[in-house]
Every structure is written in C-alpha cells, then in structure tokens.
Symmetry: none
Subunit: 401 residues, 2 copies
C-alpha cells in the first residue's frame, strides 16, 4: 500500500488550523570552528520560546547526502516523495517566473548561445549576456509564428529564457538540444513518440525562425532548448489531506510550486510583514497555510553569514503575529539548508520546530541545529512532516482496529 | 530482496531465551506543561535498573504520525510491516472475542441497527443498545440455517456482534452493507469474484432470516455487515525467525494476534502475576515469549493519568520475577502510546528498553520518554525490534562474507 494512500484513507476533517512557516535555506554551518550556525547566532526569542514548549527534530529533505533544488525541496515539505514525483525543468523554470503552466503546455528552458558562421557553438551562454540585453531579445522572439500552436517566450535572467508551446496533445519526450560542449552545432530536437515528435517538429520551426530573428546579434545569435516538460499531475492538498490550503509567498517560484499541489495562492505580498497581513486576512477561509520567506536562503547563497543571521531575526520577529492567530499546529523549518559557509544549498538536515498542544515536549531550550539534534522528533525524512502535522491536529484516524 | 527474506536466511538457532514484555499503550504525555509522562511519573526501580544496564530507544510503531490500532501495532512488534500485512476487520473482531478463525472462514463485523417500516435505517447503532440486551439477540441469530454453511454468531459489545461463515472456497471480497448514513436501506452484499459472490449470496440469506428473527424487536430489528475477511496468511515465528514462540496474554485479542503469527498461546492467566506464573512454567519449552499486559492501555484510554501510573508500577513489580528466569534478551516496550491526556492511542513514539549481555550501554539512567530519546537504539521503526532481539541473542548470522 502506498504511504500516501494510507494518509488519504486516514484523513479526517476538523476545525484545526495548520501553519507551515518556511524560512528557505534556514539550516546552516558555523563560519568558524566551534562557532554557532546562523540560526544559533541569531537572537530568536520567539522561536526559542516555541522550542521550549513544542518539540524539535532534524529533517532530511530527500535522503542523506542529497542536496535538494527548490522543486524537490518543496515537494518533500508538501509530503510528496521527491524521488517519485518529478517536476520537469522546463515547468520549474516557467513556474519560477510566474508563468502558470497549463495542461496543454510543454515548457522549455532555453539558453541564448553564440554561434560561429558554420553554426557551431562558440559560447554556450552567449558571453554571459546581461539581462538588460537578453530580455529584449527574448521578447523579440515572440514574433515567431507556427500555425496551430500558441507560443509564449519569457525572459528569465542573463542568457536564460523560457518558451512554452501550447497545443493539444503535445508530448514532452524530446531531447535537450544543448550538446554540452562548444565547437559543434546544437543538436536537433527529436521526439521519442508521435506526440513528442510533433513537439520536436514545432521546436525545429521555432529554432529556425528564432535564428533568423537573432541573425545579426553579436553575442546571442542562437539558442539551445532543454528540459521539455509538461505540467506534472501531483496529488493535491484537498484530495490527499482533506485540507483547504493557502500559499503565501513573495517569489513566483514558491507560489507556482504550491499551486502544483492544489494550494490557492493568496495575496500579492511584497514583504514578510505583508505576508502575515495576508495570513491574518484569509485565516478563516483555509485549514492549512504555507508561508514562504525567501531571504534566509538568498543571504546564504550570497555567503553572507551576518546578513543571514539578520534575516533569521526578522523572521523571528513576525512569529508572535502568527501565534496570535492561535494555530493548532505551527511548524517552522526550511526546505533545505543553505550554509553561508558554502554559499549554496546543501544536504545538511534542517532543524524543525513543531508546536502543538498534543506535542510530546523534549528537553530542547532553543531553536537551533545542536538543540534540534536531541529533539523528540528525531531525524526524519521531509515526507513525514505533513503526516506529523496532521496527526498533531487530530486529523488522522487510527490505522487498523 | 525483502527484508524478512534476509532475516530468514540469516537466522540461526541456539539456546537463548528471548522475552518481549509488552505494556500496551505504555508511551504517554505529560498531563501538565513541564510535567512528567505517566512512565516518568511512575516509580519503576526495576525498569530503571535495567535501563542503566541495557540500552534504550524510541520506537515508531508504523511511520511518523500514524496512530496504530492493536492489529497493526502488534504486527509491527512481531516484525511484520503493518502497511504490507493487513488483518481484515472481521477477522480482528472475531479474534478479539477469542474466536479462532480457520482457513475456511469468512469473518464479518456486524451492527444491530434500527429499521423503519420501509426498511430504511433509522439508527445505525440500534440506539446504542446495551450488551445485556444485544447479546441474547446475537445468540438468537444462531437459529439461522443455510445449507452447506456452518454459521457462528458471537456477541461482542453493545450494538456489535460477529458472524463467521464457514464453508470451503468462500471469498472475502464483499462490500460493507452499512451505507454510513440513515434514511436509506442497508446495501445489498455483492461479491467481486465468483468465490465472493457465493459469500454474498450466503450473507443475503443470513440477513433475510435474521430480520425475521428480529422483526418484533423495538431497537435491534435489522443489521449491517462490514469487514468481510478471511484469515490472513502471515509469516510465522518458526519459519521466519526459527523461534518456538509462546504467547501469554489475558485478553483474547492479543492471544489471537499472536496465534496468527504462529505463536502457541499458553495458559489461561487472569492477572499479570498469573501470566508470570505461566511464563515460569513453560520456560523450558520455548525460545521466545510474548507477554502482554493490557491495563496500561486501558487506563490511558480512560484518560486516567494516576491509574495508568499505578498500572506501570504494578508492571514494574513483576520484572524481578522475569529476570530471575535469566532471559538472554529482555525487551520492555508497548505496541503504541496511549497518553491519558488524549484518552486514546496515539502516534507518539514508544520508549523501548533492551537488556542483554551483548547490548552496548548508553547513558540512560531510567526508563522513560526523555531518557529513551537519547538512548543507544535511537529512533527506529517497530519492524526492526525483532531483528534487534535476534541479533542480541546471537541468532542472526553475518550478512555476506
């Protein structure tokens, strides 16, 4: 029996309110031997108080040693096994810029490249062309016309842009055209099955017209296509957990990921304070609230320990506002670690705080990596976070008599 | 390779004696913030001494967040994945009242219901009819006669009773006839395959005759049938672990569950003291002993913290008698937590104590949830308890050369 099927069968409904507060990349590392991590260095009186009242643990985002991207990291938080449910790269790219991929869409990640006169690739990233130059070129490609297909071209960043082909019955089993080296021409797109051959044919036409439109560009006179993918069919919060779920985020990527599992994206907050305003406003309309804070990850990626500490302190400051709404279960964690010392996502387990009246308290006195290591939840895989939240909210019936 | 196949292959025999002392529902919660759990509040000098000598851990009965019923809870203790091996509801109900379900039986849970004149259900539980009134009605249904089928009707409690149809080749893929609402008639039993269609036909006849026998009852003039199920084929202790296993329990449910995995149910003890008398008496005849103590769970279900504490102290008091038999491996744990604060089974991990000369001691000083959290066994799923016991008894060979 699939574990999600068990959850589906056991789910019950009640009036409880569940909040998942995500500080992206919150887990970290000391920046000097024997020193504290970012979370331990931060002054977090509110989270520490909740840690004393609730229960802590260490969450393994996917499997030990595996560093998650944002897609798999969030699938795990949402209770979906990231090794089983895969969001295609094209869909993730489109989602990241706020494009709502529909059921008839095939989304593709594209790179501008520099082609030589013989059409071999000279630079796979078009000389790292700045966004200010590349974005107008992506917009120019909206002139491409292919009968029977609706085409969307969306700038992303630097040499990257996204293309979405919309037509009924398109397949997404099409190879990447990036040959992963220079001195050779881009590969031809080839479809593995009839539906994907149609997509490949459309892609070939798109490339031909695009190269004409870019012919006189000094850097970005060609393109490669990667990660052809359709919108994945994922279990939804309503169907799986019986939860009316709201997603509150500033960045399109996280809104998009939440939408893929059936959450309703609410509000247009621009700051963390505004996110909590939205939370308070929609409190009566949903059972579950995913609230995403980005900047802990951003400053970790920057390699800026002090600024990540400051972001964690900003995050701590809004906690009382969340508490004042009186959630039944409040979870604080991240989708992965982003240690400033590494300047990137990492595989290190992520500290988790679960507060609920039904939690079995442990000896933890503060919210941080060392404390979480001796927490009552132990070390567990992210896919069990949702079952734990549901259990603590009285939303899972007994398994078997 | 299935994990149990590995165990089967590695099992070896020797003269060791293994004892699994189960205090049902032993895990708990504090009844006030910052307070001890039931196990921590109880005075348990014997268990604490064993905890200092042995090794502790926290056991997850099924998966994080999942609250087990008694069936799945015990399957886990017995080393069988409760998500893979399922005991049907009808079999569990029959087992719970001491009926030994045989290979040609289909067991069914039944409810007395109140039917209106038009045969629609007015009350799905026959006005919560007391057992004193319902038991004679169940006995009356023993008058039902269907050629070629042996029928057993057994009272259970209040509106509940059990029916067992015995005939060769009966299937158990028959729907529940409880429509889960009032104002409609009971559903017709329908079989999914030819063997189950035969069972459904028998069930229809049983219902027709039963309704005649109950026609003049004011409350219990109808019935619904649920959980049609045959005896599951489960791996046995002898075949899987190479253990001659004895089960010592007061309640029929636990005797029945143990019998399903091939344990021999020994003695007719009525108290914990008598259970240990039986244990001593049969000590030389078996390798493994499952001893079940019920009342820790019962008082937890009652929501009575103080009484659960007292039951744990009674349980502690018999430990020296078990030790005096000189077991090779002695495990003390429960099949799940039953916190008095919740008054029900729960998903919280269960403290485990493993005493053996081969155990690697840890720093734990007493048997309780907080101590177990820092125990040497860590947090582990129940299905690994049997392999751990076998290993500590020298009964598992090296895996691979």
């Amino acid at each position: 029996m699939d574990f999600l099927d068990v959850i589906r069968e056991l789910k019950t409904r009640n009036d409880s309110k569940l909040v998942m507060l995500i500080a992206d990349g919150i887990g970290g590392l000391p920046c000097e031997p024997g020193g504290p991590t970012e979370l331990e260095a931060a002054r977090t009186p509110n989270l520490d108080r909740l840690a004393r009242q609730g229960v802590l643990g260490m969450m393994i985002p996917i499997k030990p040693g595996i560093t998650p991207g944002s897609g798999p990291g969030h699938l795990g938080l949402f209770g979906l096994d990231p090794l089983k449910y895969v969001i295609g790269r094209g869909v993730l790219e489109a989602t990241g810029i706020g494009f709502q991929v529909g059921p008839n869409d095939v989304a593709v990640r594209c790179n501008f490249v520099t082609l030589d006169a013989d059409r071999t690739i000279k630079d796979r990233r078009a000389g790292r062309i700045p966004t200010s130059e590349s974005a107008p070129l992506a917009v120019r490609l909206r002139q491409v016309q292919i009968p029977g297909v609706e085409i969307f071209v969306e700038p992303v960043q630097e040499h990257r842009f996204a293309v979405i082909f919309r037509a009924e019955g398109l397949g997404d089993h099409v190879n990447d055209t990036d040959p992963q080296k220079t001195g050779v021409p881009p590969l031809e797109p080839v479809g593995e099955d009839p539906a994907s051959q149609r997509t490949a044919e459309i892609a070939r036409k798109f490339i031909a017209q695009a190269e004409k439109l870019l012919a006189h560009e000094p850097k970005a006179n060609g393109l490669t296509l990667r990660g052809f993918s359709k919108k994945p069919v994922l279990p939804t919060y309503e169907e799986t957990y019986g939860l009316r779920a709201a997603a509150i985020a500033v960045y399109p990527m996280y809104k998009g990921l939440a939408a893929l599992v059936g959450m309703e994206v609410v509000g247009q907050p621009k700051t963390l304070e505004e996110e909590i305003d939205v939370l308070a406003r929609v409190w009566n309309d949903y059972d579950f609230f995913f609230v995403h804070f980005k900047y802990t990850d951003s400053r970790g990626e920057d390699g800026n320990f002090a600024e990540k500490v400051r972001m964690i302190e900003q995050f701590d400051a809004i906690v009382p506002r969340v508490e004042s709404l009186r959630p039944t279960v409040l979870v604080v964690t991240g989708d992965h670690s982003t240690p400033a010392a590494l300047g990137s996502h990492s595989w290190h387990p992520v500290p988790v705080l679960l507060w609920a009246a039904t939690a079995r308290p442990d000896a933890c006195q503060a919210f941080g990596e060392s404390e979480a290591l001796r927490g009552g939840l132990g070390q567990f895989e992210a896919i069990y976070l949702m079952p734990l939240m549901l259990a603590h909210a009285g939303r899972l019936a007994k398994f078997g008599a």
